[in-house]
Symmetry: C2
Subunit: 327 residues, 2 copies
Amino acid sequence: MNQTPDPTKSDATIGIDVGGTGVRAVAVLADGQRAGKVHRAPLKSRERSEVLGRIVDVVAQATAEVSGTVAGIGVGLPAFLELPEGIVRLAPNLPELNGWKAAEELETALRCPVAVENDANAAAFGEHWLGVGAGRDPFLLLTLGTGVGGGIVLNGEVLHGRRGMAAELGHITVYPDGAPCGCGARGCLEAHASATAIVRMFMEETARMEEAAFREVYGPREDVTAQALAELAARGDTPAFTAFARAGTALGIAVGTLVHVFDPAAVALGGNVAAAWDLLFPSLWEELLARASLSLRDGFALLPASLGSDAGAVGAAGLAWRRVQTA
Amino acid sequence: MNQTPDPTKSDATIGIDVGGTGVRAVAVLADGQRAGKVHRAPLKSRERSEVLGRIVDVVAQATAEVSGTVAGIGVGLPAFLELPEGIVRLAPNLPELNGWKAAEELETALRCPVAVENDANAAAFGEHWLGVGAGRDPFLLLTLGTGVGGGIVLNGEVLHGRRGMAAELGHITVYPDGAPCGCGARGCLEAHASATAIVRMFMEETARMEEAAFREVYGPREDVTAQALAELAARGDTPAFTAFARAGTALGIAVGTLVHVFDPAAVALGGNVAAAWDLLFPSLWEELLARASLSLRDGFALLPASLGSDAGAVGAAGLAWRRVQTA
C-alpha cells in the first residue's frame, strides 16, 4: 500500500489507546504487521499535561522500533469527539480533557499527522482491519467494560454521524422502564450489560440472603467484581450465572435492533466482560433468534472480538494509515 | 448534471412506486424538477404480470411528458430485496412477487436501465434529495402506515447493509414484552406505532365500555380506522388521543435509540399516520428528550416528511439518476 523507497526499511504508523488509567502504543506496518511490541505507561494523574506527556513517552518507545519513518499517529480517546476538528467534547472518565483541541495539540507535540478517534470506534476499526471483523461489512463492535461502548464500520469506514457521536451503542434502549443509566435515561443497554450492571443484577439476585451468609460465600459486598462473578458463574453459582444470563438477554434485545437497522455481516463483543462469552452467549442468542431470525440467515455472525485489549491501539494505527493514504 | 445536447429538450428519469393496491409514476429532471404529473394505475390483481403491466402503462404515460429522452427508470417495491441483483426476497403484501428477478425483467420489459429499491428506502432517498431531508445527513425516515418502514441515507447514499435488508426500523424493539408483531417477535416499533397498532391501543383504551355505548359513540368496531381516530383525537376524544400518545411514546423510544446509533442530522416521519403529527409529537419529543437530550443539541431536527405520498416515486427517479450518473 505504502511506497517504501528502501526495501530494508519499513515505514509504520503508531497507534495509541488512551484509557482512564494509562496509555498504550504499538507501531504497525501498512500491511497490518506489528513493527514492535505494545508499550504501556500508567497515568499518574488525570491532568491534560500528564496525558500528553505519557503519549509522548510511548510514542518515543514505539518509534525506536520502527526501521523506516513514522508516517502518522492515531490516537483513540475515551471521549465524545467533535469531528473533523478533533476536539474533546466530553470525556466522562478524564474530565480534564473536556474542551481539549486534541488533534491540533498532538500534531504540534508529536510533529506528525495525527488522526484522533473515539476509543470504541478505533477498536471497531482495528477488529475490522486485522481482527474478527476482517472481510465483514457492515461490522459492529460492542465493548463491554465498566460501561458499554460501540463502534460501527460501514464500507470500510468508521460511522461518525453528524458530529462524530454515532455508535453510542451502550445507550440503545433495551428496557424502557429499566435501570437508571449514567446518561440520565433508563433501561439503556449499558445499565443492563456492563460490568457495573452485572454486579448490580447479582446483588438483586442475592438480595434475600442474610448479610452474614452472603459474606461467608462471596466476601464483602463492596469487593464483588464482574470478573469474580464470571468465575463463580462458571463454577455453577446460580445468582452469578443469572446475572450474566440477564446481561445476555439485554444484549440479545440490542443486537436484534442493530440487525434490523444495519443488516450487518457481523456483530462482535469485546471488552473485559466479553471474556465471559460462554456465560453470555446462550441467552443472547436465544433472544436474538426470537427477534430477528429472518435477518440472521445466510451468513450473519455473532463473534467474540479477537484483538483483546490491543484493538484500540491497533485500530488507531490503521486510522493513521487511512489518514496518510487519503491525504 | 446531465449533458443535454438540445437545450430545448430535457432528459428525465421516471420513478415508480409500487404499492399493495396500485402503482404511480412521475418523470423528474436531473435538477429535481418534475417533468410532468403523477400517473396512477390501480392493480386489478396481485399477479406478477399485472404488476408488470401496470408499471409499463404508467411508464408510457410519464414518458409522453418527457421532451428529451428517458435516461433511466427507478422502481420502489414494497419488498425485501436482494441487492445488487435486484431480486424480490419477500414481499409481504404482494407475495406473488416473491422470487421475482425484478431488475432483470423490468430492464427487458422497459428497454432502459432500471434501479430497484425497497419502497421506504426510495422514499427516504426522495425526501433527502428534494424534501425535508435536503442538506441533512445522516437522514432517517420512518414511514408510518399499516406497518412501519424505514429508510436511512448516509453520505448521500441509501444504507443497504449486507444483503439490502438494512433500515427495517419498524422492527426496532421498543417494549421487550410488548405486543406481538407480524414478524414473530414482540414489542417491535411496528406493533406500537403503526395504524394497526393505534387501532388496537384504542380498543384497549375502550375495553371497559359496553358494546352498545361503544357503537353509539364510535360505530361498529370493525369500521374503526386510525384516520377516523385521528379526527376524534383532534376533537378531544380521550381514548383516541391516548392511543396516539402511546404511539408517540413508542416512537420516542425508537428515535432515541436511532439518535444514539447514528447521530443523525434529522429524523422525519412520513406515511399516513404521520399526518397526525400534532397528536404524536408531544409524547414523542418528551420521551426523546428523556433518552437522548445531549445528542439533540446543536441542530438535530425531528420533522414531518414533506413529499407526501409522492416521496417513493420521486426517490426512485432520483435513484435512477444516481445509477445513470455513476454507471
